[in-house]
């Protein structure tokens, strides 16, 4: 039982990462395989305004809202930090959903 939940979680997390990377790849117009967790958006050639678009696309895709942060910081964020932010956002959404039941 415990094992199967862990495996499910892992699968979901993999999917989250994959989806975030695909959104980034689309904006950067690069193959998704070239994105590493430690790549920053800047490394991937994504300028600040495009980074804001990536954030918007991710928010729309997962239907979550990232916390406020000055736009200029986003281009120094890593792909992994965006995946982490999405997981936090999904967890917060799930918690809010349970709270309202």
């Amino acid at each position: 039982m415990t094992l199967s939940i862990a495996a499910e979680d892992l699968a979901m997390n993999d999917t989250t990462e994959q989806q975030v990377f695909e959104i980034i790849a689309k904006q950067a117009k690069i193959p998704v395989e070239t994105i590493k967790p430690e790549s920053t958006l800047k490394d991937l050639g994504i300028a600040s305004l495009e980074a804001i678009e990536v954030i918007f696309d991710i928010e729309e895709h997962f239907n979550i809202t990232f916390p406020d942060q000055q736009g200029a910081n986003f281009d120094t964020d890593t792909a992994q930090s965006l995946v982490d932010a999405v997981r936090l956002g999904l967890a917060a959404k799930a918690a809010a959903g349970e709270g309202s039941k």
Partner: protein, 410 residues
């Protein structure tokens, strides 16, 4: 370099509606006291918005106080602000446009970033949210970008060149520059010019939120703990006239608009360029016949974003060399917020105050100096000092730079 045979340009009236109150003096007094008008956002949709702060014209502002009841229905909030500010400026100038055909020789040029946004938002809401059957029949005349310029023209019978200038956050400075050129080239003896903006609508606020450039605490230009810009609103309107015209009638001259500089970065739609901004400052100095060391004060664009503050600092160093360390530089957006297309006009009130009273207004909320911003930003407290000449910087999204150079009245 300005052709020395061209007329010089005097400023003989100023008026403002700003978050610091009704009137240019209310704005200037607030700024020299270092008083910030940034506060909790007043908005019917506040609960649905993430942005919680703004610099808004006080709720006590009464458009009907100075505008007749037949004109009021024709006005968006942008034009209400502009008409009030124009009335104050024209009264101060003492000009009577009905005499000697002066109305024919007077231009009106008003900058605005987006024009009648309140009207646009209200009527869109009626259509798309309320499924209303019809929109208000005066929507077009309220929202058109030239409405403020046209309403000023009509109110005072001003029949010279009249139009709007739109260049986002540089709109007011571009409008004032255009007005000065009208006088220099002999197309007008007098010009009413400035900027107006009132775009704190639900739609516009959501769009700004999405850009992730808004601060959630306050506006802290040049401070390392800055968190972005704070939106504002208001209008500043000025009376410009040829120096000869002003002196011949014995007008009180507030300052000389001695030079102007305009450039475009031609690089990025939002990220500013130090070289583009520096070139505009250098052009303004040359046009005014000023050497770097003649300037004592710069009213910075100073939005409180990382991108602006560091780039503007570099630009000032590029334009002024070693003299940059002797300049007083302040961002009054820390107090009146970023009024977008009106910001250059509100800031010109600050510069005229500094030249007249020999007091440089401070940069408020500057409590943790940013090592990347290493000029004298006059933190938090105004400074009494001689101000012989000053620059006022406006830099806009789109990479547009417009700089005014002002000298003390002769």
């Amino acid at each position: 370099m300005r052709n020395p045979t061209m007329p010089r340009v005097a400023i003989t009236g100023m008026g403002a509606i700003s978050p610091l109150g009704v009137g240019a003096e209310a704005l200037w007094q607030g700024l020299r006291e270092g008083r910030s008008a940034i506060g909790p956002l007043r908005h019917p949709d506040a609960e649905r918005l993430r942005v919680k702060i703004a610099a808004q014209v006080p709720a006590s502002f009464d458009p009907a106080a100075n505008i007749d009841e037949r004109t009021l229905p024709l006005l968006d909030r942008t034009s209400e602000f502009a008409l009030h500010a124009a009335r104050e400026a024209i009264a101060q100038s003492g000009l009577d446009f009905s005499r000697d055909g002066l109305g024919l020789r007077t231009a009106v040029i008003v900058g605005t970033g987006v024009g009648g946004e309140t009207t646009q938002d209200e009527q869109s809401r009626r259509l798309y949210a309320d499924n209303a059957a019809r929109v208000h029949p005066l929507s077009i005349v309220r929202l058109m970008t030239n409405a403020s310029a046209s309403q000023i023209s009509i109110a005072w019978g001003l029949r010279g060149p009249t139009f709007a200038v739109a260049s986002a956050c540089a709109s007011a400075n571009h409008a004032i520059i255009q007005a000065a050129q009208m006088i220099r080239y002999g197309l007008a003896d007098v010009a009413i010019a400035g900027g107006t903006e009132a775009c704190l609508t639900y739609g516009a606020l959501r769009a700004w939120e999405a850009m992730r450039v808004l601060a959630d605490d306050t506006c802290r230009p040049f401070s390392v703990n800055r968190r972005g810009l704070v939106l504002g609103e208001g209008a500043g309107i000025f009376v410009l006239e040829s120096m000869e015209h002003a002196q011949a009638r014995g007008a009180v001259i507030l300052a000389e608009l001695a030079g102007t500089g305009m450039t475009a970065d031609a690089t990025d739609i939002v990220m500013p360029s130090a070289t583009g901004a520096a070139a505009a400052m250098t052009l303004a100095l040359a046009d005014a016949g000023l050497a770097a060391q003649d300037v004592d004060y710069i009213n910075a664009h100073g939005t409180g974003t990382l991108a602006n503050d560091v780039t503007e600092t570099k630009a000032i160093r590029l334009a002024f060399g070693a003299h940059a360390d002797r300049l007083a530089v302040s961002s009054t957006k820390s107090m009146h917020g970023h009024a977008l297309g009106a910001s250059g006009a509100l800031e010109l009130v600050a510069v005229l105050g500094a030249l007249r009273d020999r007091v440089v207004p401070p940069t408020a909320h500057l409590d943790q100096p940013d090592p990347a911003c290493n000029l004298d930003y006059v933190p938090n407290v105004a400074r009494e000092m001689p101000v012989r000449a000053a620059l006022s910087n406006s830099f806009a999204f789109g990479g547009l730079n417009a700089v005014l150079a002002l000298k003390r009245a002769p």
